[in-house]
């Protein structure tokens, strides 16, 4: 191997170790019983299933996982539809107020959520959506970030394609559904992953909106293990580890689409 190759792999390897070490620590922590949890830095000489046992008996973990999957999945689908629609409009149409809308979009991304917590809670309550899945999905139905992403990728759509469709008598909506979306497949893939991850780890708003334990999503449910006086670290680590698994699986399945989508959308920026 050439010198520069060695250097390259060393650099990459070192970074990889840095990235992975805390995660290895996490996995090690899930396998240590309470006696060993803080006694050994990484792995203990013996493996214990205690943490996972605790996890599934102390809290309805499976229920939390299903709740998270449902809310995240529904959010992704809804966001996908509305954001791609909006992105399409911003990319391929000229209309009054377009600049204003884009500035407003940017502004929404900057507002710290905490400021709006109390008024939003009152609003959701007035709408009867408190303590419901809809109360989580509806406020997040449009992803501004997604609109930007889709706009970026749809800018490169050849206009002739759209014109041809219109000449054939397609309505704009038909165009969107039959022409634009299929061509935007890569960006759809990328966005699905990003959106899923965002919803999966969401904590602040669900914590306020959801009341009944049966509706809790994973981040809230897991936090229950962090008690006032004592923290059940072992189970919390086990829970966190399991919570990462679906996202990792999704990432593996969609990795190619994810990268491809960002590439296609990022060209010429």
């Amino acid at each position: 191997m050439s010198g520069s190759k060695i250097a390259l792999y060393t650099a990459l390897g070192a970074c990889a170790v840095l990235m992975l070490t805390p995660l290895v620590w996490l996995i090690a922590a899930t396998s240590k019983g309470p006696d060993d949890l803080f006694h050994y830095l990484f792995f203990a000489p013996r493996v214990s299933g205690y943490n996972f046992e605790q996890l599934f008996t102390q809290i309805p973990y499976v229920r939390f996982m299903v709740n998270s999957i449902f809310v995240a999945g529904a959010t992704v689908l809804v966001q996908l539809f509305f954001s791609s629609l909006g992105g399409f409009a911003l990319a391929k149409y000229e209309f009054k107020g377009k600049k204003l809308i884009m500035v407003l979009m940017l502004a929404t991304m900057m507002i710290p959520a905490q400021v709006m917590l109390a008024p939003m809670y009152e609003l959701i309550y007035a709408m009867g959506l408190v303590d419901s899945y809809l109360g989580l999905i509806i406020p997040g139905a449009v992803s501004v970030f997604g609109m930007f992403l889709f706009r970026q990728s749809m800018l490169h759509l050849p206009d002739d394609l759209l014109q041809a469709g219109r000449i054939d008598g397609c309505t704009e909506l038909r165009l969107y559904w039959d022409v634009v979306l299929p061509v935007s497949r890569p960006m759809i893939g990328a966005f699905c992953l990003i959106s899923f991850m965002g919803s999966w780890n969401n904590f602040l708003w669900p914590q306020i909106v959801l009341h009944h334990q049966d509706r809790f999503t994973l981040p809230i449910g897991l936090n229950q293990m962090v008690g006032l006086y004592a923290q059940d670290y072992g189970s919390m680590m086990a829970g966190t580890f399991l919570a990462v698994v679906p996202v990792v699986i999704l990432f593996f399945i969609l990795q190619k689409e994810f990268i491809g989508g960002l590439t296609a959308g990022a060209v010429k920026g």
């Binding site: 309470p34 992953l193 049966d214």
Partner: protein, 448 residues
């Protein structure tokens, strides 16, 4: 001509199809396991799992005693309970009937005029039922405002010192001889080896240990009338005593910063002792299991001979909201959850937390010898100190005062490290006054 690939069948790509699949599956699961909605008669919010679990266990017996009523105990995560409660009070909706609030957040609900207070005054019912005299009185102080009591104390949280009995014995230290802080410091200076072994775990950058010393001396951030006392003489005295313990040559204390996990520090004798309120003893038992049988508890050394040998750290209150349509029933819930002696004994065994109901301590559970603590009767030790627990007074600005205080402590520790005693008293006084002035600035904004 070519077979239809998977790609062809999914016009929008793998991703949405996959997500649709899992969402629908999850949806089916949820449809078949609907949330059991009940319009409960009484709603009770709490924020700690080790509270909600016993309350939920005690719910069936409550419902049996009061047929026709249903009790819903909800666990709401710590920070959410205060934000949700605040949002609920503010918008006047969805307010629970009973709610537990942690001591550091309780004062913030006293901001406005008394008529706007979201909790009801419990003093009348405490007096008429006679509970007022059966509960450790100082524990009402943090939840009292302008003479009205807004919260039932959940606990007492007396503070003792947990120490490595085996290492003390090996070093020839006789715990009975350590009666004042002077004794303690003397022993500490003999035994501390900087970098290897410290007599006690104390923080030089946060106020949570300092304030225990402050309370022990009858000081506090605020007094009973809500006046700021964080810069009074007692505070200065405490500061002048505390800083040399944690900084500079001759210090006997160190800490690990975040203070969460110090298992290895205790196992390796890096800390020979640490401040131990009743709840922390259970944390020790859980997090440092290998020290089973090697630990013991001693009362805090007194400030002066014959003085108070304990302090306090933490607390929770139970309040009944004004929005509750049936305060008598709510009181029944509170009584059932907080004052059932058999139940309290069971909880004590599980959490080591001493209830504030004095006659509950007669139960044999409080005299049980604990093997972890070298056979000491943990309950009795804490119960004996309960009457000496100093009062803490509430204010919406306690957390602000605390964070300013942590700045003072950090700055003083740095100064002391560099200059020792030279000019230290003046420096500390100035810093204290500055911090207090900043808190007073906040106080001026609130006319109540």
């Amino acid at each position: 001509m070519a077979d239809r690939t998977l790609e062809d069948m999914l016009p929008f790509g793998k991703a949405p199809a996959l997500i649709l699949l899992i969402t629908v599956s999850a949806g089916f699961y949820l449809a078949f396991h609907p949330v059991s909605e009940q319009r409960a008669t009484m709603r009770f919010w709490t924020f700690a799992r080790n509270h909600s679990v016993p309350y939920q266990k005690a719910t069936p017996s409550f419902e049996a005693k009061h047929p026709g009523t249903t009790l819903d105990v909800q666990l709401v995560h710590g920070e959410a309970v205060t934000s949700r409660l605040r949002a609920a009070f503010w918008a006047d909706l969805d307010v629970p009937d009973l709610v537990e609030v942690e001591i550091s957040r309780a004062g913030s609900f006293f901001r406005g005029p008394p008529e706007d207070m979201g909790f009801i005054d419990l003093m009348p019912i405490l007096r008429s039922t006679g509970y007022y005299d059966r509960i450790v009185k100082t524990r009402f102080a943090p939840y009292t405002n302008k003479g009205k009591i807004y919260g039932l104390p959940h606990d007492v949280h007396p503070v003792m010192l947990a120490y490595r009995r085996d290492l003390f014995e090996a070093a020839g230290i006789d715990v009975e001889q350590i009666r004042t802080w002077e004794d303690f410091v003397r022993v500490g200076q003999q035994i501390t080896v900087p970098g290897e072994r410290y007599m006690i775990e104390l923080s030089d950058s946060g106020a949570h240990h300092y304030e225990m010393f402050l309370f022990q001396r009858d000081g506090g951030y605020f007094d009973a009338e809500g006046r700021l006392t964080m810069d009074d003489e007692t505070a200065l005295e405490t500061l002048l005593f505390f800083i040399p313990l944690v900084a500079g040559e001759g210090r006997i204390a160190s800490d690990l910063g975040s203070g969460r996990v110090f298992t290895q520090a205790v196992e390796q004798g890096y800390f020979l002792s640490f401040v131990c309120p009743d709840w922390r003893s259970k944390v020790a038992e859980t997090d440092i299991p290998r020290m089973h049988g090697k630990m013991a508890l001693m009362p805090l050394p007194a400030v002066a001979s014959g003085g108070r040998r304990t302090s306090t750290w933490g607390g929770t209150m139970l309040g009944i909201t004004k929005a509750c349509p049936n305060p008598e029933l709510a009181w029944q819930v509170a009584e059932h959850m907080y004052f059932d002696k058999a139940e309290l004994a069971v909880r004590f065994r599980e959490t080591n937390i001493l209830p504030p109901l004095k006659d509950a301590w007669e139960h044999p559970a409080f005299d049980e010898e604990r093997a972890y603590w070298s056979g000491q009767p943990l309950g009795r030790l804490y119960a004996n100190l309960a009457d000496e627990v100093p009062p803490q007074y509430a204010s919406p600005l306690v957390e602000t005062a605390k964070s300013k205080m942590s700045g003072v402590i950090s700055a003083c520790a740095v100064y002391y490290r560099e200059n020792g005693e030279a000019g230290f008293e003046d420096f500390a006084l100035t810093r204290l006054a500055e911090a207090a002035a900043e808190v007073r600035r906040y106080m001026r904004r609130n006319p109540y």
